[in-house]
Symmetry: C2
């Protein structure tokens, strides 16, 4: 494995030291990183231009180009991101539970860093800085493997972060940005048992399936969001329209945007007649079930549509006979991300909250709020759609684990 | 998949209902199970005798026979186990965090069952009852796949549990005990994405590796325990002897027993001269490093020895030059289970607690205390040696996940 093995070994060794570095030192490092990014704007923009050049020459999609692009304003927001993370509470060392047992043993459960975290992501170079800052704050060493389309930008940011680490007199392996055009490194990382403690894949479905299938290391998926809004027969019409519009059009390319609208048949006529025109005026392409197709602009939906995360101005609409049909549809086709009901009926709201199996379940609010910042948790590594370890926005605290420490005075077990 | 698919689908559907069944109903079911086990003692013993017969005819190991065997006393302790679990707090529905955001959204993080839990285990039939009871208490549906050597006992216990479920008017798929002599079912379960939420393998290294490599579903490993006791140069001799003896001989076949003893060179002569004789008198076979071989009864250890979980009256001994050599040895060869230092030196104790990377780290106590009951957590599914989701004894609460529920009054995101 040669050079790659050096990274895994270097990272593991660095994590042994870094896990017990105090908050002051970690905050000092974050401060240095934000200062160096500010000083090196020109270097960052020059390297980013190479990625943009490559993307243009290879006719990559407009949306990808937008995600790749860095400018002064985006560098500002990168710096702000680091400073926000620096201001968060350090979870390491907090005592989650403590007790003295009848035999005198004092048992404490304390929060400690995970160790080495591998993050696999695509296109947006700001993830490099965000992920590094979140790992530093939580005392973890990270290995960052971005997409090949952003390699110049990522390596430039990685170099700046490494300079900051060295000037803070810390181990240079604390943050490792790697170049990996052919998944060669990725494949080694997925098998690096004993060196890497957690793998976080962020990106498209195929990347995430690939990682899940091949990893020998625990994975926290940040999967797709097939989110629903259900308009109950007891919904207030204006509120329903506002939420159904916001959940779809405010930012269609993100995971907490709605992909399927469910409408109770008793209010379908009144609500959908108006709603489809609003969507049409907002350039939303509509597909739907038989009963939804009776309304203007609604084309037939296929079975596949109900499973699809469009990430664009497209929406599928289904008319349902009951609250329970809506819940069953969501539990069958949803991805366990964010789901909402609009209703004034107390019992329906409570049933929906109880029975829908998802990271975030809303009454009378847009699904678009699922986000670390909006939930008051600070910056996030992503939104976990799995049930193990953390579910929903994954913040600094979720990058830690626990350890029992036990103070005895000679106890043995009888 | 035919019949197997019915189990996965049946289990998933059952979990949708069972996750919102209240504590009273779940406790009633646990009570019924303990009553039925008591009534059906004869049936259990008859079926167990078939497994014992098979084991004797196939000359299975004595230690396996002992683990397989059920008798009146072991049935008593099965019943007590269920009653203990029934008395524990129900974690489902507890509110972990709650806040009102500036925009008026009320956000709560509540504890919910995981859904469907697959448990893979070997030999001991009481695991069937323990695992079922823990899953019931935490609102989970379980699929229990025991070893083929215990199939009659496990199916008998599964039938009794199913009878109790039916008489409590609950869905019969809440507990599913399956027969799987050739890993056919196991292989299907490891791929049953969308139906099974968690896989817990309990057993030997090869079973656990197999599951980790082939599973598409998140796994919580209950891996081996290569546990160490380090006798520091500031240890009290009598305490060191007590702990080093207890950690090895009190129950050598369990995962929290010590496998390697580390001794600071400055006290090696005084401590080991006496200790090796005590081990010898307790029938402990000794292997060790060059310096340890100078003492009576100590044969040479191989590199493999340091990685080995003997689970028997065998011990490897290493003389080290410093606290840090001990810590490095543990972090390299240990399995992250339970580690202890014996010392009167405050700074050495704190360094050891901080730098050793394991689920439980002890000062001046035997490693043998790592156990849900001893930690005051109640019954456990096992001891997790991984860092994700839960680490150390895995109790009822660790069989749950969380869900954000959000109460709005029409909020949309700007």
């Amino acid at each position: 494995m040669g050079c790659d093995m050096d990274i895994f070994l270097g990272a593991k060794n660095a994590s042994r030291e870094f896990s017990s570095v105090g908050s002051n030192k970690k905050d000092e490092l974050l401060m240095k990183i934000s200062e160096l990014i500010d000083k090196q704007r020109k270097f960052i923009l020059t390297e980013n231009a190479k990625d943009i050049d490559y993307a243009v020459k290879n006719s990559l999609k407009e949306s990808l180009l937008d995600r790749l692009l860095l400018n002064e304003k985006r560098i500002d927001s990168m710096i702000n991101g680091v400073m926000e993370i620096q201001k968060q509470d350090d979870p390491v060392g907090s005592i989650e539970m403590g007790t003295t047992r009848p035999n005198g043993l004092i048992i404490e459960k304390i929060r400690v860093p995970l160790g080495v975290v591998g993050i696999i992501y695509e296109s947006r170079p700001n993830v490099t800085v965000d992920a590094a800052a979140l790992c530093i704050k939580s005392g973890n060493v990270c290995i960052l493997r971005g997409g090949k389309e952003a390699v110049h930008s990522n390596l430039a940011l990685g170099k700046i972060i490494k300079d900051a680490i060295i000037s803070a007199n810390l181990n240079e392996y604390i943050v490792n940005v790697v170049e990996d055009p052919n998944r060669e490194f990725l494949n080694k990382m997925l098998k690096a048992k004993g060196f890497v403690d957690l793998i976080i894949p962020r990106g498209g479905e195929s990347l995430i399936s690939y990682v899940t299938e091949h990893s020998l290391i625990p994975v926290i998926k940040h999967d797709k969001g097939v989110c629903h809004v259900y308009i109950d027969n007891f919904a207030l019409k204006d509120m329903a329209i506002n939420i159904a519009l916001n959940a779809k059009v405010s930012r269609p390319g993100v995971c907490n945007a709605m992909e399927t609208l469910l409408v109770h048949h008793a209010v379908a006529n009144e609500f959908l007649t108006e709603m489809v025109e609003i969507y049409h005026n907002n350039s939303v392409e509509l597909v739907g079930c038989k009963r939804a197709q009776k309304f203007n602009h609604v084309k037939p939906a296929t079975e596949d549509d109900w499973y699809t995360e469009y990430l664009s101005l497209k929406l599928s609409i289904k008319v349902v006979d009951s609250l329970y049909e809506a819940i069953d549809h969501i539990n069958k086709y949803g991805s366990g991300h964010s789901e909402a009901i609009v209703t004034e009926n107390y019992s329906n709201a409570m049933e929906f909250l109880k029975r829908v199996d998802a990271a975030a379940v809303y009454v009378n609010a847009s699904t678009r709020f699922t986000d670390g910042g909006e939930f008051g948790l600070g910056a996030e590594v992503g939104i976990s759609t799995q049930k193990l370890h953390c579910r929903g926005p994954m913040g600094v605290k979720d990058l830690t684990t626990t350890k029992y420490i036990i103070f005895g005075n000679g106890q043995v077990r009888v």
